[in-house]
Amino acid sequence: MFDPYKALYIHVPFCKQRCAYCDFATRAVPQGDAAINAYADDMVLSIRRAGKQGFLGSIETVYLGGGTPTYLGSRALTEILYTLSLSMHLTDEVECSMEANPDSLDERLVKDVWALGVNRLSIGVQSFDDRVLGILGRVHDAEAAKRAIEIAHERFENVSVDLMCGIPGQSQESFAASVRTAVAAGVTHVSIYPLEIHEGTPFGRAVAAGRMPAIDEDLEASYMEIAEEILGQAGFSRYEVASYARPGFACRHNIAYWTGVPYLGLGPSAATMTQNATRRMRKQDDCVTDDLDARQMRVEDVMMGMRMSQGVSDELVAHASELAPELVDVLDGLASRGLCTHADGRWRPTERGWLCGNDLYGAILDVAP
């Protein structure tokens, strides 16, 4: 027996073209490719099957990510969302997010997905600077990005944009301007991602060949500070390492990942986390990627919780300490190193704990690896 899933993730593994930094599970296919229809058919079956098994009865948040969900086109998206609304209670209380790319988001699609229950759009803008977009290998330009936000706003109140920093050729001014443009465009949520360079991507190869500079962590740190400053002044609060929201617009689905809520993933490479009080298992493409006992699980909850500004409560730490008594000493040690603080019954990361999160999380994970 395991606890009911509360979050559902649907992975869409298609894009118009792959970006130069991308290492996600996606591939470029032509519009209307047979693979898209085959995928939609499979997904419809998967959703119905999950529904019949009772996996969707307690779902509180849905997230369609990718890839580029909007690239599926109206017809395939309609099939999937319609099936979803038949298989679960896709009411307004359910946060239903969808990722979108500026170039594949049009008025028709906005209206269709809204009608079918999607209530949050996350637009992959990355930058409002055409030069930077060119370097990233994005298919859209800044104008298209602004227009996409406008179109989204015709139906959606809850619109998020992703912005990237630390891109070679990007200046601090360019990044700051992008952040300000996002604020001015009236979005309710912004995610700030420092560029990561992965092997096997065009960027990875360019860095390996010395054609592109390696990541400059100092520079990325200053970008993250710039974002914090501009967004803070504009009334956003940073609720996680990379996530900023106006009050009431934090992404509930993502918070589920950081608070140990069980989730179901459908589609290729989508991760599923199944658990009860004594065991937690994560699976991806039918492979078990983690199998944790109660001790590891409770310590992991503390670790993941420290990604968020709210941190973790004394109760959660006490719960984990029952099985991992050394945890409090470790947290005290981290506090003395300036990575977290303890106040008002909660352990919270400091700014430094955010920027040097691997030290913070690594030390906690070490308690029950």
């Binding site: 993730y9 990510g65 700030i192 991602y193 420092p194 990561e196 962590e217 100092d218 990325e220 740190a221 200053s222 993250m224 390492v241 990379a242 993502n254 990942y257 950081w258 989730y263 993933g265 490479s269 989508a270 991760a271 986390m273 994560r282 991806q284 990627t289 983690d290 992991e300 993941m304 990604r307 190193r337 300036g338 990575l339 430094r352 955010w354 920027l355 040097c356 999160g357 691997n358 030290d359 999380y361 690594g362 994970l365 070490d366 690896p369």
Partner: protein, 602 residues
């Protein structure tokens, strides 16, 4: 098994510069004489350790009895003594040679005469051995046997008209070699009726029988059941077993004059069986041992520390075990504020050190941290005492020091004439004193230098090789202690002196070394959550400083559903990386930091 007729015994070594193919020639001899069936043939059979085989070097001497039916129809017993091919083991080589009447001098047909060719040939000549020159690797397209033949004659004054042209790889020339061994190498002399004198030229440890000594009978006979005395230590023991190695050990009743074999006395402590010692009988024994014995003396010292302090007992056991087969390996416990419990270990040289460290890590599963190698300094104190200093940590306060002496070497360098200038520049910069220079041939110059050992164990040899495009070869011998203006250079991390990073350096070099080392450490020490100042200081005076800036960002921003498993793995990997580092105070210091001094470019 009956004892051999001395007139049909031939005892010989194969000597060569490293990599000239000594071990493959040995293997071919074993194969061609049918000593080892072809199916049991493993490349480089006599190199029994994995590391020996991998690195293509011989560390331990080996002796094998081979029966050869010569073209004259007679059966000859060959004792082939394979010797270590590295300058660290010169003493072992000299003892092995003392057990022989002849030597096969292997010279690479592409490389020609090199420093150890000269050194080994000299040693063989000093031991009055008959030398058979052999030009190896003639199958290679770049082989120049005629040039090499001329070099052997010019540089070594060994007639090389009849030098054997051979290939250890194809087996060409091996038959000629076997015949030459029969006809050119004299049969052993010695008096079978005289009191026993047997030379120990190597030993190894067997878990069941204790120490097994490899011996050459110089005079008399050695019988099973007899009581013998090891003359250097005065120990008396019963001969439990004698025999010959072919290469399997075959026991026999006795060994007679001229023979090479093994001896088991039940002795458990390898330190009691010393290479170069003489075995004689307790009754009617000789009074005078064979000449040439000396104690194996470490030249290079390093601190070995387990990275995980729980492995300290394992390290001790491993050193105990290794030293059973390696009496030259000396060690004593040492503690360091920075590194905890470990051992100060003495080695014959740098290769010996590397090999031992590698064996400890590989064969015993230890993760070790080695501090920069040091030499034995003699510190004369104002109170008249002399301190043998193996570790910079033990350096007394400057006020207590009258003067310090350091070990010097006589180094022999062979190079083509074009590189004389390059070697001059390098060696003078390393405090070398030029002694003399000889043209051995038109293409080979021999330079003799006096050089502090401490300079050699830095990267002198690497630098010598690179400054001469790989042409230089080097041989050296210990040349005594000389006074030197030496100081202890301390390295401070975050203001605290790190004992394991301190080292002893010539006063005039302290500033440069300190500066470069600080720069090097700045590259090696990863950025931490806080700033780490690095300082080099002598007697509290800071000579150089660098700072490792605090890291500002180390986090992956994206962490959603599928990322969590990946992230766990990443954090675990990061932790494995940290395990390879030593936490000193709160600074994580990678292992390379302790060896950084060796990589200091000037």
């Amino acid at each position: 098994m009956k004892t051999a007729d001395p007139t049909h015994i031939r005892n010989f070594s194969i000597i060569a510069h490293i990599d000239h193919g000594k071990s493959t020639i040995s293997d071919r001899i074993l194969e061609m004489t049918g000593t080892v069936a072809e199916r049991d043939m493993q490349a480089q059979l006599l190199d029994s350790m994995d590391i020996e085989r991998e690195r293509g070097i011989t560390i331990k001497s080996q002796a094998v009895r081979v029966d050869y039916t010569a073209d004259d129809g007679e059966v000859y017993h060959f004792n082939l003594i394979d010797t270590p091919g590295h300058v660290d083991f010169t003493y072992e080589v000299s003892r092995s040679l003392a057990a022989c009447e002849g030597a096969v001098l292997v010279v690479d047909a592409t490389q020609g005469v090199e420093a150890q060719t000269v050194a080994n040939a000299m040693m063989a000549m000093n031991a009055n051995l008959e030398i058979i020159p052999l030009i190896n690797k003639i199958d290679l397209p770049s082989a120049e046997p005629e040039r090499v033949r001329a070099e052997i004659e010019d540089a070594l004054a060994i007639p090389a008209d009849d030098a054997i042209l051979a290939s250890g790889k194809t087996g060409a020339g091996i038959h000629d070699l076997l015949e030459a061994i029969v006809y050119d190498i004299p049969a052993p002399q010695g008096d079978p009726a005289a009191p026993l004198r047997a030379l120990i030229f190597d030993s190894y440890f067997d878990a069941y029988r204790g120490v097994v000594a490899l011996v050459r009978i110089v005079d008399g006979e050695l019988h099973k059941g007899e009581r013998v005395r090891l003359m250097a230590t005065g120990q008396e023991h019963l001969v439990e077993e004698v025999g010959v190695r072919r290469p399997k050990e075959i026991p026999c009743e006795s060994l007679t004059v001229g023979e090479v074999g093994y001896l088991v006395t039940g002795l458990k402590d390898p330190a009691q069986v010393k290479v170069g010692d003489t075995v004689t009988t307790v009754e009617h024994g000789v009074k005078e041992p064979l000449p040439g014995y000396r104690e194996a003396k470490p030249m290079v010292y390093t601190g070995l520390y387990p990275i995980d302090s729980d492995q300290y007992p394992d390290l001790r056991d491993a050193l105990d075990k290794l030293s059973l087969n390696d009496p030259a390996l000396l060690y004593e416990p040492e503690t360091s504020h920075a590194l905890g419990f470990g051992f100060r270990v003495g080695f014959l040289g740098l290769l010996h050190m590397e090999v031992v460290k590698e064996r400890l890590e590989r064969e015993f599963g230890l993760d070790l941290l080695a501090t920069a190698p040091s030499v034995e300094y003699h510190v004369y104190k104002t109170n008249g005492e002399m301190l043998s200093l193996h570790s910079p940590q033990d350096m007394p306060d400057p006020g207590e020091i009258e003067h310090i002496e350091e070990p010097y070497l006589k180094a022999k360098i062979l190079i083509p004439p074009d590189y004389v200038g390059a070697v001059m520049d390098l060696t003078v910069a390393r405090r070398g004193t030029f002694v003399t220079m000889n043209y051995l041939s038109q293409t080979t110059v021999e330079m003799i230098w006096e050089l502090p050992l401490s300079e050699l164990i830095l990267d002198y040899f690497d630098k010598l090789k690179s400054n001469t495009k790989g042409y230089a070869s080097l041989d050296y011998e210990f040349d005594g202690y000389k006074p030197s203006k030496l100081v202890k250079l301390d390295i401070l991390l975050s203001g605290k002196p790190i004992d394991a990073l301190s080292f002893i350096v010539h006063k005039d070099k302290a500033y440069d070394r300190g500066k470069v080392l600080c720069e090097k450490l700045k590259e090696i020490i990863p950025r931490q959550l806080f700033e780490v100042p690095i300082q080099a200081a002598v007697g509290g005076r800071v000579l150089a400083r660098q700072t490792v800036k605090a890291k500002r960002k180390d986090v992956l921003a994206k962490c959603y559903g599928g990322d969590i498993s990946r992230k766990r793995k990443l954090l675990e990997k990061q932790k494995q990386g940290k395990k390879r580092m030593k936490s000193i105070g709160n600074v994580e210091v990678p292992q390379e930091a302790f060896m950084a001094i060796l990589k200091v470019d000037e």
